[in-house]
């Protein structure tokens, strides 16, 4: 199977600091892949390596089967950096034209493509404005326009919602889904977990330069699936009994317990233990983690393990 992105053991060091430590990743064609991680985890560095903007210290990577060092790997590719810096003296149209020319779009198609991008982002009024006069949100839209010019097969978006208002965020979300439906693979770096939750097919979590989890959100959150139990008369011996069938210790907040049984049918066992230990069960329900909870849990666990 040919992957849209295939990275093997990517290492990047800056002096003594290891920004990326043997990062391996496969992104399938046509999916939206979310790349999560706390600040300084190495997400942007990884994207820059894939775009050959920063050389890797070790490891190899391919985009659509082409080595990233080859210019051909960057054909049919769009990129929106985290903080877009564009030539302030160019007008919006000139800037998009410049990128259309560099992308190798045929000359007779350029005008049409520029109009399509401008219409998609609703920037018709700003078409002839100089970039230097635009607000941060507008500049971000210009960045998105240059990224989608030529209908790229692969799109790298680094914090794409930065500076956008809620309406523009919603439009961007539907744009991403439209592009995905048309076969574009999207690699999304974002701190906005809710955005990733809504759009991504699969995610990878990067922490301190290492990928610690990869999979669909469902796969990852199954492990965080837990029982929320409200009980009266909770005792330490009850906790000891319950912990025997759990992957992690019971968490308690007043009368509310968070229990992480290893198997789904252990809920019956939990019920039995509470009754046997003289407790009064008021409610019991299964809950799945949101991406935010999942992310927080994984990063926290990882940091505890490391320390």
């Amino acid at each position: 199977m040919r992957y849209a992105i295939e990275a093997v053991d990517i290492v990047k060091t800056f002096g003594d600091v290891k920004a990326l430590n043997q990062v391996s990743l496969e992104v399938q064609e046509g999916e939206i892949f979310g790349f999560l991680g706390p600040n300084g985890a190495g997400k942007s560095t990884f994207v820059k390596i894939l775009l050959n903007l920063v050389p890797a210290s070790a490891g190899t990577a391919e985009i659509f089967g082409r080595k990233i060092e080859n210019i051909s790997a960057r054909r049919n590719l769009g990129f929106l950096p985290e903080n877009i810096v564009a030539y302030p003296f160019l007008t919006v149209e000139d800037f998009i034209r410049f990128h259309a020319e560099l992308s190798g779009i045929p000359k007779n198609m350029i005008k049409q493509e520029i109009s399509r991008c401008i219409d998609t982002l609703g920037m018709g009024e700003k078409r002839n404005k100089r970039i230097g006069t635009l607000s941060k949100g507008m500049l971000q839209k210009v960045g998105i326009m240059q990224a989608i010019i030529g209908k790229p097969k692969m799109l790298f978006l680094d914090e794409p919602t930065s500076g956008l208002d809620p309406i523009a965020i919603k439009e961007l979300r539907s744009l991403m889904l439209d592009m995905k439906n048309n076969g574009t693979t999207i690699f999304l770096n974002s701190h906005l977990l809710s955005e990733i939750e809504r759009t991504c097919d699969r995610i990878a979590i990067l922490n301190k330069g290492k990928i610690i989890k990869t999979g669909s959100q469902y796969d990852l959150s199954v492990k965080g699936k837990h029982l929320e139990v409200i009980v009266e008369g909770f005792t330490d011996s009850m906790a000891l009994e319950i912990n025997k069938i759990c992957s992690r210790p019971v968490e308690r907040s007043g009368t509310c317990l968070m229990i992480y049984p290893e198997r789904e049918f252990d809920s019956i066992t939990v019920h039995r233990i509470i009754i046997e230990q003289g407790g009064k069960l008021l409610s019991l329900s299964w809950n799945t983690e949101s991406l935010e909870e999942l992310f927080y849990r994984i990063i926290k666990d990882e940091n505890i393990c490391n320390s």
Binding site: K48, I71, S72, F79, V85, Y87, L90, H99, L102
Partner: protein, 262 residues
């Protein structure tokens, strides 16, 4: 062509610098002042300078002035054109496109040359017109000299583009002008036959003249077009130096730029 797309943006960027207009105005001022100074009388007999030589001397002074201003402009632009992109981050999106770094650097270099050559020829043309009104005749040779100076500009722009990858960009033009003027100075005893009678260059001067990029040689040869086209022999050495240094600078720019993190 992608290179022209990059050059076009670079050209617009260069024209956005106020410094370009400042230098142009300074050079223009120099020409206008030079015009009022140039017809000064040299009394006595015409053994050293006949009437034509006097006229040509004035022309050469103006030529060298115009060239130096243009070289200075070329250096300032070359020092900024690539390093500013890297510093400010505008190169990030551009280099994520299917273009090589060599093409990007070439496009940027082309834009610097376009502005510098435009400046040189515009000033040259103004001088040419003023000279016609002053002297009542035209000397087209001055343009041959300007054409030869394009090579000097190319070598100078490449040198400063290279420097700007490693040295802070406000220092780069100073390094450039130091090397350029040193090269001009060391070339003097080798190109003025009358000066040779008075000045036997030391080994240091000779070595500097031989091994430094021969900007001075080219400038003096270019200026000599005002009298007459110099013999081809005079051109061989400096042209070989230009070729060698241009290739060396270009190769070093590419290897340095390739390793740069954007």
């Amino acid at each position: 062509m992608k290179i022209f797309a990059i050059a076009k943006v670079g050209f617009k960027e260069c024209l956005g610098y106020k410094l370009v207009y400042f230098i142009f105005l300074m050079a223009l001022l120099f020409i206008l002042l030079g015009r009022s100074c140039s017809p000064g009388e040299i009394t006595g007999n015409d053994i050293l300078f006949d009437a034509q030589a006097r006229q040509n001397l004035a022309m050469k002074v103006a030529f060298n002035g115009i060239v130096l201003w243009s070289i200075m402009l070329c250096g300032l632009l070359a020092a900024n054109i690539l390093s500013k992109e890297l510093e400010e981050g505008t190169a990030v999106i551009t280099l994520s496109r299917p273009i090589s770094r060599a093409l990007f650097a070439a496009g940027k270099l082309l834009s610097v040359l376009m502005v510098s050559v435009l400046n040189l020829f515009l000033l040259g043309f103004i001088f040419f017109v003023l000279f016609y009104f002053e002297a009542g005749y035209v000397n087209y040779n001055i343009f041959a000299g300007f054409f030869l100076m394009i090579l000097n500009m190319l070598m100078y722009a490449l040198m400063l583009l290279l420097c700007s990858l490693y040295v802070p960009r406000f220092i780069t033009p100073m390094i450039g002008i130091f090397i350029y003027l040193t090269s001009c100075w060391t070339a003097l005893p080798f190109y003025f036959s009358r000066l040779k009678l008075l000045w036997i260059p030391s080994d240091t001067i000779t070595n500097m003249h031989t091994y430094l990029p021969r900007f001075g040689d080219l400038q003096l040869i270019s200026a000599s077009y005002i009298d007459s086209a110099p013999p081809l022999n005079d051109l061989t050495g400096p042209l070989a130096s230009v070729l060698f240094y241009c290739l060396a600078f270009w190769f070093l720019i590419l290897s340095g730029f390739k390793k740069k993190q954007v």
